[in-house]
Symmetry: C2
Subunit: 196 residues, 2 copies
């Protein structure tokens, strides 16, 4: 029976972006099933009394160097941090769940992250999200309306609550069954576990 | 000209322990010079308004799982956390600098970390440190006296202040010239940079 990799992430998180560029290939190599699970990072932090590393100025300075090393390693364009980083990702997260209903979360995710971390755009802005949706071949107006539905709002809360209940305290966080792995830099542990 | 790898660490830090088991081999493979630089982690945290991950109970729970994955990967005995972790490492750190004067910091470091993270002993306790010194072939009484000297105390402060001035906010932290790398999990970046 194939294993399942649950990928908990938020569209405002640069390390989630990095991980998002690897998880499909990891699942392809190991025959695992990938489940994309957007969460609201702010709510995860609140529930776990955690804060992002960028809130400490000493860490923040290092963070950007580290991110550039990862984009170099992964062969991605040099990472840029969007203006006003970290932005409000609630709308982008909900639209991720709308994209998922339409079977388009992979391309939506690529488009959001390219806007944020390759072009430095603010994904809290409606025109940015509309362009992202079009890039993912999703009709913007009905998607934006659907993103405000009770079902989609509830689904984001369920993902977020489930992540916290199972031990997550940030993103990206990965689960293989009950086993938790935290951070883009643990993807080698993830791949080894999927390959076992 | 050979490159120099400066390894900033504290004897109370399990991730420093992990890194300590790898740095000699990395330098041997890349022809780099290894410089052991013990620091007082508490002072680094104070200077940078940082805290250890174990202070957040959600992170602490994950931390131990992560440490076990690393000891398995490195082929080390299953890690144990000492009683009263994190303990006071001031004396152990100063003794590291005494061991360094005697050209024995490698074996002293192995002995301290084995006591702490393989046998779960409290390295703040004098009898534990005396046994560690004997294991490292260091005469305990003069070493313990030397550890209280103004020179050794100043040297620990210099290491700590230098780490902070150059951007460190925790341990283990590595420098190759001005380039900073944070965490045992960045040793692959360190090795790649040394090999360049």
């Amino acid at each position: 029976m194939p294993k399942t990799l649950e990928f908990f992430f938020d569209y405002l998180s640069p390390y989630s972006y990095l991980a998002s560029t690897q998880v499909e290939a990891i699942c392809a190599r190991t025959g695992a099933i990938l489940v994309w699970r957007p969460v609201l990072l702010g709510a995860v932090f609140k529930a776990t009394s955690n804060v992002g590393p960028a809130t400490n100025p000493f860490k923040a300075q290092y963070l950007f160097k580290d991110l550039l090393r990862w984009t170099a390693r992964y062969g991605l364009p040099e990472l840029v941090l969007p203006e006003g980083f970290p932005s409000n990702s609630m709308k982008a997260d909900r639209l991720g769940l709308v994209a998922q209903e339409q079977g388009r979360i992979e391309r939506y995710t690529r488009a959001v992250y390219a806007a944020a971390f390759q072009r430095g755009q603010d994904i809290a802005q409606a025109p940015v999200l509309e362009a992202v949706l079009r890039e993912a071949e999703i009709d913007p107006a009905p998607a934006l309306a659907r993103a405000e539905s009770a079902e989609i709002k509830a689904r984001l809360r369920v993902n977020t609550d489930d992540a916290v209940a199972r031990g997550a305290f940030g993103v990206p966080t990965f689960f293989i069954g009950d086993e938790i792995y935290v951070g883009n830099d643990r993807l080698d542990f993830v791949e080894a576990a999927l390959a076992r």
